[in-house]
Amino acid sequence: MNKEIKVGIADMKIARREGVLITYALGSCIGISLYDPAIKLAALLHIMLPEAGSMSDMNVFKFADTGIHEMLRKMGAFGGVKRRYQCKIAGGAKMFDMKGAGGIGNIGERNIRSVEAIMMAEQIRILKKDVGLNYARTMLVDAEDGSVKIRTAGRPEIIL
């Protein structure tokens, strides 16, 4: 029986061997999953913004840069080895069609770019991604085998 472990907004959870990490309704946010198949270690991070900037007293999991770094640190502490990690990402959608542009409309796009850049710097290859467009996604990561499922309204479930 697979227990669902909820990952909230600006949150990160780790599971080992069993359990399904789930984060709901990724809009402009990005869900980042890392899986170490050798030790069946899974982590799911839900970030909102591309980078932390000068904010030091805020929740690190809110931002792609501080969030990913903390996730890597924690996974390492559990015995994870970076070069084995399988990375998959989802989200970064444009929820509202804002006429007249401005930052609020394209936060999803900025998040995608930030996550890609950070993973490249960490030398972790993003194996699969389901990003962009204009609908929200729910992301599930199975710690047993690292499989990732994406659920959206009105569309069939897909396996990344």
Binding site: I9, A25, G27, K62, M95, F96, I104, Y135, A136, A153
Partner: protein, 208 residues
């Protein structure tokens, strides 16, 4: 009193927002009544400062499909307003304006979206009007944007906008009674922190 985050708002500041909420609600009910050509009442709203996850849970389930009308404020106050409408609210509107009922959002065509957007826009404008009058400020509103999506997804837009300054959102919740039927009214009012401070200065008289 300098506020750096919504959490810093003291009771006086919150009371001020409630006051604006009440007056805005009155205006909104009158304006809606006019548009829908039926009696509209709105209950005294509750103003809450909530964390992201709490806010989503208060409104329902993050995967629940809802509609949202988003408007940006500029001028003396800048920020974002988001009005969340569920299917029951939309149906009350469509019943009054188009004499029709829908069983799902996918049935919304151009007319239905237009009517729903207009309602959201009216409600948001009513609050802004009461705010600008009370504080004697000029506030401009953008053209409204409409979206039908998962609740959690829609909420990430204002959350991301304010993520750099706050972990909380300001929400005005109440009930809207249209033609005798009860629907929930949920408005997220998010002036940016600089504007909030400016507002507090204008509205709250310091007592010695």
């Amino acid at each position: 009193m300098k506020i750096t985050r919504y959490e810093d708002m003291d009771d006086t500041a919150k009371d001020m927002m409630r006051e604006i909420g009440s007056i805005g609600t009155g205006n909104a009910a009158t304006a809606l009544s006019s548009l829908l050509k039926t009696g509209v009442e709105m209950t005294v709203p509750k103003v809450e400062i909530l964390g992201y996850n709490e806010a989503v849970d208060l409104l329902g389930h993050p995967e629940e499909i809802v509609s949202g009308v988003l408007v940006q404020m500029t001028g003396d106050v800048s920020g974002v307003m988001l009005f969340i409408m569920k299917l029951d609210f939309i149906n009350e509107v469509l019943q009054c304006v188009l004499q029709e009922n829908i069983s799902g959002y996918e049935q919304m065509g151009e007319m239905e979206i237009s009517a729903s957007t207009e309602v959201g826009n009216i409600i948001i404008s009513s609050y802004i009007l009461s705010l600008s009058k009370l504080a004697d400020m000029e506030i401009s509103l953008s053209v409204p944007a409409f979206s039908v999506n998962m609740l959690g997804g829609i909420m990430t837009v204002p959350m991301a906008e304010f993520g750099y300054v706050s972990d909380k959102l300001m929400m005005i919740t109440g009930k809207c009674i249209i033609g005798g039927r009860n629907v929930d009214s949920n408005l997220l009012m998010l002036p940016d922190i600089q504007s909030l401070n400016y507002l507090m200065d204008r509205l709250v008289t310091p007592y010695e």
